[in-house]
């Protein structure tokens, strides 16, 4: 699956240390520190206004940080701004494009700006990467939103930068276009270090090797989607369903006897929630215990915490805003 290379040969592509940014007296970013390695897709996950875009703008050299430092491919974003920018491809959230240009002339213009040596080849390659070859001479203003997004992505990978930063790349697209764009992002993996921001949890789960949950200008959690889940859910939990005719006391006893089971809760109607001790995964043993007693096992469902729930919990924990906490409580089911 998502095998991580050994730490030694993981090349650091983005290094951000204690980035902070104030707009006047109010902080948009308080303290952002993270590292991104070659070839991984890192997701910035957080509610709107959490500081995702501000972080991206700092990394791309659009905004200077109020304090803290960052480097792209080893180049300091302030001291060696031009070198750092040469190693980044960036697609802002609004997909800004010159609508009066054709796809080809626009990409050629961007290639010139980035000082690409073989422009024709670079433009051809970028267009084929996003399947826009047959739109080369069409005016950007006449393209659909999904196609424009592809032009935006083509522009970001034009100069084959080691770092690609995409701000909310799927926002405002229809479901088919969203799948399209996600497919493109997945293809970038490996060659490029990709940073995407999103507030859609399933997107982060589907695309990212690592998720940084950002809230109120701070990173409140950083882990792979799977790790994040176990980290927050604590231990594994499963739902066991047997026919309601089986005596509850027998079932509880049998389940509690299984190695690694911490707690059994009877939900009635033959449904039991079994919580494992931390680190244990007693699912096969549970199944064996049930079947071994001669009871039909009707259901054995893992009750992992959804990323949605984790997200709400994290973002609610870090601030005292009562609205957030209410939101977390309302979304009670996991």
């Amino acid at each position: 699956m998502k095998s991580q290379p050994a730490a030694a040969d993981r090349e650091v592509m983005i290094q951000a240390e204690h980035l902070a940014r104030y707009y006047g007296p109010s902080p948009a970013l308080r303290d952002i520190t993270f590292t991104a390695y070659r070839g991984e897709i890192v997701g910035f996950l957080g509610p709107n206004g959490a500081g995702k875009t501000t972080t991206m703008r700092i990394l791309t050299g659009y905004l200077p940080p109020t304090s803290g430092k960052a480097s792209i491919a080893g180049y300091d974003i302030i001291e060696q701004s031009m070198d750092a920018r040469r190693h980044v491809g960036y697609l802002p959230e609004t997909t800004p494009l010159y609508t009066d240009m054709t796809v080809w002339s626009y990409l050629d213009f961007m290639a010139r700006l980035r000082g690409v040596a073989d422009r024709d080849e670079a433009v051809e390659r970028a267009m084929s990467r996003v399947s826009l070859q047959d739109r080369a001479d069409q005016l950007i203003g006449q393209l659909s939103k999904g196609l424009r997004q592809r032009v935006g992505i083509a522009q970001a990978v034009l100069h084959d930068p080691p770092v690609v930063i995409l701000d909310e790349p799927t926002i405002g697209l229809d479901p088919r276009q969203i799948q399209d764009v996600r497919g493109l992002i997945q293809e970038l993996k490996g060659n490029h270090t990709v940073i995407i921001s999103t507030h859609i949890l399933s997107e982060a789960e589907q695309l990212c090797d690592r998720v940084l949950v950002i809230n109120r200008g701070e990173i409140v959690a950083a882990a792979s989607p799977a790790e994040l889940r176990t980290q927050l859910a604590g231990a594994d939990a499963v739902r066991v369903v047997v026919p309601s005719s089986v005596r509850a006391r027998d079932v509880e006893q049998a389940l509690k006897a299984v190695d690694g089971v911490a707690e059994v809760a009877n939900e009635g109607e033959g449904r039991y929630v079994v919580k494992a001790t931390a680190g244990a995964s007693p699912r096969p043993a549970i199944a064996q215990a049930v079947v071994g007693n001669g009871w039909p096992l009707m259901e054995l469902t893992p009750l992992g915490m959804s990323l949605e729930r984790i997200f709400l919990e994290l973002t609610a924990e870090s601030g005292a805003d009562p609205d957030d906490e209410m939101l977390a409580e309302e979304d009670g089911d996991a």
Partner: protein
């Protein structure tokens, strides 16, 4: 230089696909053609090209801010400025590149008036007085460059093209008529002298008399460079806000 020219090239291409440019070009050609014919056929009038070029200068007071209004305002509105400012290119190169693009269009527009010169040449029995003609064209070029730079400056101030054009026209008008201060107040106090010196029209008119005064050249070049410098600083300040 390469980056600057990349920006200028895009700007020039974009002018050709913009209706605003064609409207200005049409109005300018109709106006200049009319003036040319009017001055040629009026009895007792000297057929002077320099007088015409002086009038074109005043047309530019309005035309230049309209030509330059979109340069930075539109980029700010659509957000494409963010892409330019995150590309490996300096802010001043963006500003100067846009200005060069606009100046190229202006020069192209003015070169159309060479047809008038050609017609003059055809009918001028005693030949042409080339000196004042050349200085007039030089003056027109410097004036246009300066007005477009002022336009780039006002375009940096706002996301709205109409406001950029309005501010630009106000600015050029104020500068132009500042010369009148000298006529209103006859007293030669230093205030009057200073404002009088800042007046644009006096500095422009000497070119039409066949004189290239270094003070006039310095005046226009200073305003051009100053306006572009200010525009760059305004763009930079967006990063700090």
């Amino acid at each position: 230089m390469r980056n600057l020219w990349t920006i200028a090239r895009r700007e020039i291409a974009s002018y050709f696909s913009s209706p605003v440019f064609w409207v200005i070009a049409t109005v300018f050609m109709a106006f200049s053609g009319f003036l040319f014919a009017y001055i040629l056929i009026s009895p007792g009038q000297q057929a002077e090209m320099t007088q015409l070029l002086g009038l074109y200068g005043t047309v530019m007071l309005f035309a230049a801010p309209v030509l330059s209004m979109k340069l930075l305002a539109e980029e700010q509105r659509t957000g494409t400025l963010e892409l330019l400012m995150t590309s490996p290119i300096r802010d001043w190169q963006v500003v100067w590149g846009k200005w060069v693009g606009a100046v190229c269009m202006f020069v192209g527009l003015m070169s159309l008036t060479l047809t008038h010169v050609a017609i003059m040449l055809r009918y001028a029995e005693k030949g042409m007085d080339w000196g004042p003609l050349l200085t007039s064209y030089l003056g027109l070029f410097l004036l246009g460059s300066m007005l477009l730079a002022l336009g780039v400056f006002t375009s940096a101030l706002t996301q709205n093209q109409a406001i950029a054009a309005f501010l630009g026209i106000m600015l050029t008008m104020v500068l132009w008529f500042l010369s009148l201060v000298k006529q209103v107040f006859s007293e030669g106090s230093w205030v009057v002298k200073t404002f009088g010196y800042l007046g644009l029209s006096d500095h422009y008119q000497t070119f039409g008399q066949g004189i290239v005064d270094s003070r006039d050249v310095i005046y226009m070049v200073t305003f051009t460079v100053g306006a572009l410098y200010m525009a760059t600083r305004i763009l930079e300040s967006r990063r700090w806000r």
